[in-house]
Symmetry: C3
Amino acid sequence: MTKLAFELLSLENNVFKAYLFWTAFLVLKMLFMSLITGFMRFRTMTFINEEDLLDKRLKVKYNDPHVERARRAHRNDLENILPFFTIGFLYVLLDPNATLAINLFRAVGISRIIHTIVYAIAPVPQPSRLLAFLVPVCATTYMAYEVVRAVY
Amino acid sequence: MTKLAFELLSLENNVFKAYLFWTAFLVLKMLFMSLITGFMRFRTMTFINEEDLLDKRLKVKYNDPHVERARRAHRNDLENILPFFTIGFLYVLLDPNATLAINLFRAVGISRIIHTIVYAIAPVPQPSRLLAFLVPVCATTYMAYEVVRAVY
Amino acid sequence: MTKLAFELLSLENNVFKAYLFWTAFLVLKMLFMSLITGFMRFRTMTFINEEDLLDKRLKVKYNDPHVERARRAHRNDLENILPFFTIGFLYVLLDPNATLAINLFRAVGISRIIHTIVYAIAPVPQPSRLLAFLVPVCATTYMAYEVVRAVY
């Protein structure tokens, strides 16, 4: 943190630009998960609230495997992408090596897209999903470690 | 981003003030969801952990519809409000048009209160909840789009 | 907010340093929850996706109590720690009393570790978990209140 925060939080800073891009991209990806879940609900006619039933002959239904799969993928996003948003921002404020930081953000972003595809859209055999899960976990862990180290 | 970050992140900036207000307000609203779920658990005596049973004659119980409804409303908050916190902040750093930005934050905040009411407190027929869900989704999508656009 | 944002978001500011430390620490703690859930899945052979089954003789299984307990603890983190990340950062920008702010962050961090231990690792009788839940809720509520107050 030799530079001041206001120099780092500017479009002159390529690390911050990469953070802006991948964060905005992942926000859009997360919102898209609701669409997938909604689509699965309509395709399988699985509605969980009385007021959502489109037809009086329908009944509330739980645990459709397609709907639940989309919901698990979405929850996995909450567990992994949201902490990245916070720690990635703090990492930018540490003025890290640009090449490393930009590639970390890129790795997180691309892995999470792959995670969504292999989990919610077109399930494939493991370890595809495991790897797409582990890359962002490792990147986030590294950034969190760097933040802790900067404090001492 | 013609202005510097430190001018934008100040109480002189009405856009940042609106962000501060609605973010803090929505944090309080989200914490309140735990209260609603807790209230529903006590009213229906639905406790999910052995150590939470108030009386030895009670047994752990899952899937009470009132409790589950409150939990779904809370989860929907996690899926929609938390990404807004991040993208709203980055949007403030882009120095957007003040009237537009303030009204976007207001629309998100008010819609999410309505969402909580019509989902967890007093369920009403659709499309009330759908609309209260879609307004923040559109506002968040627009802000994320603006952030992506600013990078190029 | 008499000081400018760039003075507050620097390693010269002990309040920001405490925020950096506890936020990074809690990000690591949250990622660790996935490990606990994974460990419980393997110990009880409870796999929820077809593609995760290690052996053709295994079947997908839901609702193992140990796995579900770990997942509930993780979800409770999402509900409480993630809003703290946002409001804690905004609170730092208000240039609060250093002793108070540092102890609030510390109370949140330590309570959430205790919460994880008594919920997911070694369940103990109540009100242990209730207290470990309430301390961060009160701290977060106070910070959100201070943010709302600063706007007026």
